[in-house]
C-alpha cells in the first residue's frame, strides 16, 4: 500500500490559555475531496494553518508522500505543493488577475527574468490553466470589476499556478450564489479527477454530503473520526460535531405565530440610497419575519443602515408605527431623522459587523449590555443598574461569559451575538432590523439565535431579516424578498406552509443571480 499524499499525526498547538489542537490527526489521499468538519473553536482552522505554515505546531508530525517534512512558513508549504484559499480573499482589488497571480512569485518560477515582471507570460499560463480546469477568467480584468465567484477562481488559479497538489478551501461557499456554488463544485470535481487533493473546511452539512468523499470531524481540538461521506446523514454528522442531538430545522408552528399579524409596523416606500438602493418598497407586519435574500453587496447593508438612520436616503419614505395597541398608533415618516429618533420610535438593529458596529469590543460585557438602554439618571451612570441588566441578559439568553467585567471582544462570536441580540430585543423595540445574524457561527449558536428570533416574532415584533444564507430564510421567514442590485426583484411566500422547498430554493437562487422571472416550476411555487 502506498503512503497517503498528506498526513498529519498527533498535532498539538497551544495558544496562551487554550489548546487549539490536542493530538489531532488527518490523512489525505491524492484525488479526493476531504471535508473538515467541526464547530467554531474545534481547531479546524488552526490545523489547516499549521499545514499551510501560518502557525508552528508544538508537537506532532507532518508527512508528504510518506516522508516527514518541516513546514516553517508558507513558502515551505507552497514548495511542498500545499495551497490555501482563505475565507476572506487575499486579492489586491486594483490589480489585474495576472498581477495578482504574479504577486510574490519567486523568479525561479517559469515566467519573467531577473527583476522584470513578465506579465504577458503569466497571463498566458493563467489562460491555459483556466481552460484546463474549466474556470473561465480573463487575465487582464481588474479584480474590483469581477464578481465574487470569479474572484474565488482567481484564488484557486493562484494556487494551481504555483503547482499546488493540495488545495485547502476555508468556507468556500459562504459568499457564493447557488449557481456559483455549483460551478465551484464542478471545478473541484475536475481537480479531483486530475489527482489533486481538496480540503474544504466547513460547517455546512449538506455540502459535505453533496461534494466530499470523506469527512474528518474535529471536536475540542481532537480528531473524533474520519468517515466516508456516503455512509452518513446530515443528522449523524451534526450529532458527531456538536456531541448531542441538534435540531436542524427550527420549524415555526402556528402557536408561535404572532396574533396581531396584519398590521404593518415598518414600511419603506420607494426608498433610494445613492446607487446602492434604487427604489425599494417593503412592509413588515407585527409577528412577521420578512426575509431579504441576496448575495452580499447588492444593497443589503445600505438598506439596513438607511432604515436605522445611519445612512442618508435621498428620497422615499420610512414609516414606523410605534405601538401595536390602538392607543399608540402614531405613524410618522422618519426619513432623514437621526438614529436616536428612529430608536425612540421603536426600531432596533442587529448589524452584520458584530465587532465593528454591534459592540464596543474594548468595553466590558456589562457596559455593552447597557449601551443603548435609556438612561436612568440624567448625568451619572448607575453601575448597579448596568450590571443587573447584563446579568438579566446573560441568564435569559444563555450567554457564556467569564464575568461581567470581561471585555466584549474576548467573547466568542456566538456569545457576542447573543449579547447584542439580547440587548436589542429587550429595549422595548417593536421593529427589529437583523443583518446576517448567524454568519460565522457554529450549529449550536445558530440554533439558539434562530429560536430567539422566532420568540421575538411570537411576541409580535416585526422583524426584517437580511441574510445571505438561504437555509436561514427558508427556516425562519414568512415572506422572502430577493434583493438584486438595489431592487427587490422577487417576493415569495416562505416555505412554511406546504410550498415545495426545492422549487423555492431554485427560484430564489435564480433571482439572487439577477435572473428574470423564472419558469413554470417557479411560478407554481409562487402561486
Amino acid at each position: 500500500m502506498t503512503a497517503p499524499a498528506f498526513e498529519m499525526r498527533g498535532i498539538v498547538k497551544r495558544f496562551p490559555g487554550v489548546t487549539a489542537n490536542d493530538r489531532a490527526d488527518l490523512t489525505l489521499e491524492a484525488g479526493e475531496i476531504h471535508a473538515l468538519l467541526g464547530e467554531n473553536g474545534a481547531g479546524k482552522s488552526t490545523l489547516m494553518q499549521i499545514l499551510y505554515g501560518l502557525h508552528r505546531m508544538d508537537a506532532g508530525e507532518i508527512r508528504v508522500d510518506g516522508s516527514a517534512v518541516r513546514i516553517r512558513n508558507t513558502a515551505d508549504a507552497i514548495r511542498l505543493g500545499i495551497g490555501m484559499v482563505h475565507q476572506e480573499f487575499l486579492l489586491v482589488s486594483r490589480f489585474t488577475v495576472a498581477e495578482n497571480v504574479a504577486l510574490g512569485l519567486k523568479p525561479v518560477l517559469r515566467e519573467g527574468k531577473g527583476p522584470w515582471l513578465g506579465l504577458a507570460g503569466v497571463a498566458e499560463r493563467v489562460r491555459a490553466l483556466s481552460e484546463r480546469y474549466g474556470m473561465a477568467v480573463d487575465p487582464g480584468a481588474r479584480i474590483e470589476n469581477l464578481p465574487v465567484g470569479v474572484q474565488q477562481r482567481v484564488e484557486i488559479l493562484k494556487l494551481l499556478y504555483r503547482d499546488a497538489r493540495l488545495l485547502i478551501l476555508d468556507e468556500p461557499t459562504a459568499v457564493l450564489t447557488p449557481g456559483e456554488r455549483e460551478q465551484l463544485f464542478a471545478a473541484l470535481r475536475r481537480l479531483r479527477a486530475e489527482g489533486h487533493t481538496v480540503v474544504i473546511v466547513t460547517h455546512k452539512l449538506s455540502e459535505i454530503i453533496a461534494l466530499a468523499d470523506r469527512v474528518t470531524i474535529l471536536r475540542d481540538g481532537r480528531t473524533l473520526t474520519t468517515v466516508a461521506a456516503k455512509d452518513v446523514s446530515e443528522r449523524e454528522l451534526a450529532r458527531m460535531m456538536v456531541g448531542r442531538e441538534v435540531d436542524l430545522e427550527v420549524k415555526r408552528t402556528t402557536t408561535e405565530r404572532g396574533a396581531a399579524q396584519g398590521e404593518p409596523l415598518l414600511e419603506a416606500r420607494n426608498l433610494r440610497v445613492g446607487n446602492a438602493i434604487r427604489g425599494i418598497s417593503l412592509k413588515v407586519h407585527a409577528g412577521e419575519i420578512l426575509g431579504i435574500a441576496g448575495v452580499d453587496g447588492n444593497g443589503q447593508q445600505e438598506l439596513a443602515e438607511a432604515l436605522m438612520g445611519l445612512r442618508a436616503a435621498q428620497s422615499g419614505e420610512i414609516w414606523l408605527r410605534t405601538g401595536v395597541s390602538e392607543a399608540s398608533t402614531a405613524v410618522r415618516n422618519l426619513r432623514g431623522r437621526s438614529v436616536a429618533e428612529l430608536r425612540a420610535a421603536g426600531a432596533a438593529y442587529i448589524p452584520a459587523d458584530r465587532r465593528g458596529i454591534g459592540s464596543v469590543t474594548e468595553m466590558t460585557v456589562s457596559e455593552n449590555a447597557s449601551l443603548i438602554a435609556p438612561a436612568r439618571r440624567r448625568f451619572f451612570r448607575s453601575r448597579t443598574a448596568e450590571e443587573a441588566a447584563a446579568r438579566g441578559l446573560i441568564e435569559r439568553f444563555g450567554i457564556r461569559v467569564s464575568g461581567l467585567g470581561q471585555q466584549a471582544g474576548k467573547l466568542s462570536g456566538g456569545n457576542l451575538q447573543k449579547l447584542i441580540l439580547g440587548r436589542e430585543m429587550t429595549v422595548g423595540a417593536k421593529v427589529l432590523i437583523v443583518e446576517q445574524p448567524t454568519r460565522g457561527l457554529d450549529a449550536g449558536a445558530v440554533e439558539s439565535i434562530w429560536r430567539e428570533l422566532l420568540r421575538a416574532r411570537a411576541e409580535g415584533k416585526a422583524i426584517l431579516l437580511i441574510s445571505a444564507e438561504l437555509e436561514e430564510l427558508l427556516n425562519l421567514a414568512d415572506r422572502i424578498a430577493v434583493i438584486y442590485e438595489g431592487r427587490i426583484v422577487r417576493e415569495l411566500q416562505g416555505a412554511g406552509e406546504g410550498h415545495e422547498i426545492a422549487a423555492l430554493r431554485t427560484e430564489i437562487g435564480l433571482s439572487m443571480a439577477g435572473a428574470k422571472k423564472g419558469g413554470t416550476q417557479a411560478e407554481k411555487a409562487n402561486g
Partner: protein, 307 residues
C-alpha cells in the same frame, strides 16, 4: 506679451518645479507602499544642509549631492522605524520630525560655521545645454538648457514609473500599499517594502534639498524650504499617484511660482503676496481631498500588523 516672455516664464517654471518634483517622485513611491511620509519637509532641509556643508568642505558639487542623498536616507531610516516598526501615527511622527529637523539644522549650521554671521555662498551647478535638443524652438530653452539636478529628477520620474509598473519589487511594493494582508499572504515582507518606500522618499527629499542649494540659491538658510515638502505632498495627490502625471502637476505649481516672480517685476495690479500664497492654498485644498481621491493607495496611512 511676446515669445521671450513665455520662454522666460516657462523656463523659470521648470527650474522652480525641479526640487518639488524630486521630492514628490520619492513621496509617490513611498505612498504607493502605504506610508504617508510627511517628514519630507524636514528631510529636504537636512539634505540642503548636508549638501551646503559638503560643498563648503570639499568644493565638489557631485559629492555634495551624494552627501544630501545619504543624509536623506539616514534620517528616513529613523522615520521608517517610527512609521513601520513602531507603527506610530504617520502624520504625527512626520510633523514632529519636521519641527525637530529645523532645530537640528540650525544648531548644526551654527556649530559648523562657528560664530561667523555673514551669509556664505557656494558655487552652483551651471546650466547644461543638451546638444541638438536645446536648439529646438521654445522646448529647447525651456527643458534642455537646465541644470544637472533637473535631468536627474526627470530620469528619476522615468525610473519610478519603470520600477513601479515593470518590476517584481514594484508590484510587491504597490501590493503592500493596496492590500498588505494579501501581500503578506503572497510571501512579501510588507515591512521591507514600506522601509524601501520611506528610504526612497528620503533619498529623493535629500536630493531636493541639494537641488535648492546647489542649483538654485547657492547658500543655506533654515527657512529656505518654506513648505515645499508639503507642496510635494499636494503634487502627489494632483498627479493621482502616477509618476508622469506628477511631472505635469509639478510644472503647474512651478508655473504659479514663476508667474509670481514675473508679475512682481512687471506690473502692480495683482498683489504678489496673493500669488505667493497660491501654491500653498492649492496644496491645502489638494490634501483636503476636495479634488477627489482617485488612485489613492487603499492602505495609505494604515499601519500593518498580522493580528
Amino acid at each position: 506679451m511676446n515669445t521671450a516672455f513665455w520662454v522666460t516664464w516657462l523656463a523659470a517654471s521648470v527650474r522652480l518645479a525641479g526640487p518639488v518634483l524630486a521630492a514628490a517622485e520619492g513621496e509617490l513611491v513611498c505612498e504607493r507602499a502605504g506610508v504617508l511620509n510627511v517628514g519630507i519637509e524636514g528631510t529636504i532641509l537636512l539634505g540642503a544642509l548636508a549638501s551646503f556643508l559638503t560643498a563648503q568642505a570639499t568644493g565638489s558639487l557631485t559629492l555634495s549631492l551624494v552627501a544630501a542623498i545619504a543624509a536623506g536616507v539616514l534620517v528616513n531610516l529613523f522615520l521608517a522605524w517610527m512609521y513601520v516598526t513602531v507603527r506610530a501615527s504617520q502624520v504625527v511622527a512626520g510633523l514632529v520630525f519636521n519641527v525637530l529637523a529645523v532645530g537640528a539644522a540650525s544648531a548644526i549650521y551654527r556649530l559648523a560655521l562657528g560664530g561667523e554671521t555673514a551669509q556664505r555662498t557656494i558655487p552652483t551647478f551651471p546650466p547644461v545645454a543638451i546638444p541638438w535638443l536645446s536648439s529646438l524652438p521654445i522646448i529647447g530653452p525651456v527643458f534642455f538648457a537646465q541644470t544637472a539636478p533637473l535631468y536627474l529628477t526627470l530620469l528619476a520620474a522615468a525610473g519610478a514609473h519603470v520600477f513601479l509598473f515593470r518590476t517584481r519589487t514594484g508590484l510587491a511594493l504597490r501590493a503592500a500599499g493596496e492590500n498588505p494582508r494579501a501581500a503578506d499572504a503572497a510571501g512579501i515582507s510588507v515591512e521591507r517594502m514600506r522601509y524601501l518606500g520611506v528610504l526612497v522618499s528620503g533619498a529623493m527629499a535629500g536630493m531636493a534639498g541639494a537641488y535648492m542649494v546647489l542649483a538654485q540659491v547657492g547658500f543655506f538658510r533654515e527657512g529656505m524650504v518654506a513648505g515645499q515638502g508639503f507642496i510635494a505632498l499636494g503634487i502627489v495627490i494632483f498627479g493621482r499617484w502616477s509618476p508622469w502625471k506628477a511631472v505635469g502637476a509639478a510644472l503647474v505649481f512651478g508655473a504659479c511660482d514663476a508667474l509670481q516672480f514675473s508679475l512682481q517685476l512687471s506690473s502692480g495690479s495683482v498683489p504678489p503676496q496673493l500669488l505667493l500664497a497660491l501654491p500653498y492654498l492649492v496644496t491645502i485644498l489638494a490634501i483636503s481631498g476636495i479634488f477627489g481621491r482617485a488612485g489613492k493607495p487603499a492602505a495609505l496611512m494604515q499601519p500593518y500588523s498580522r493580528d
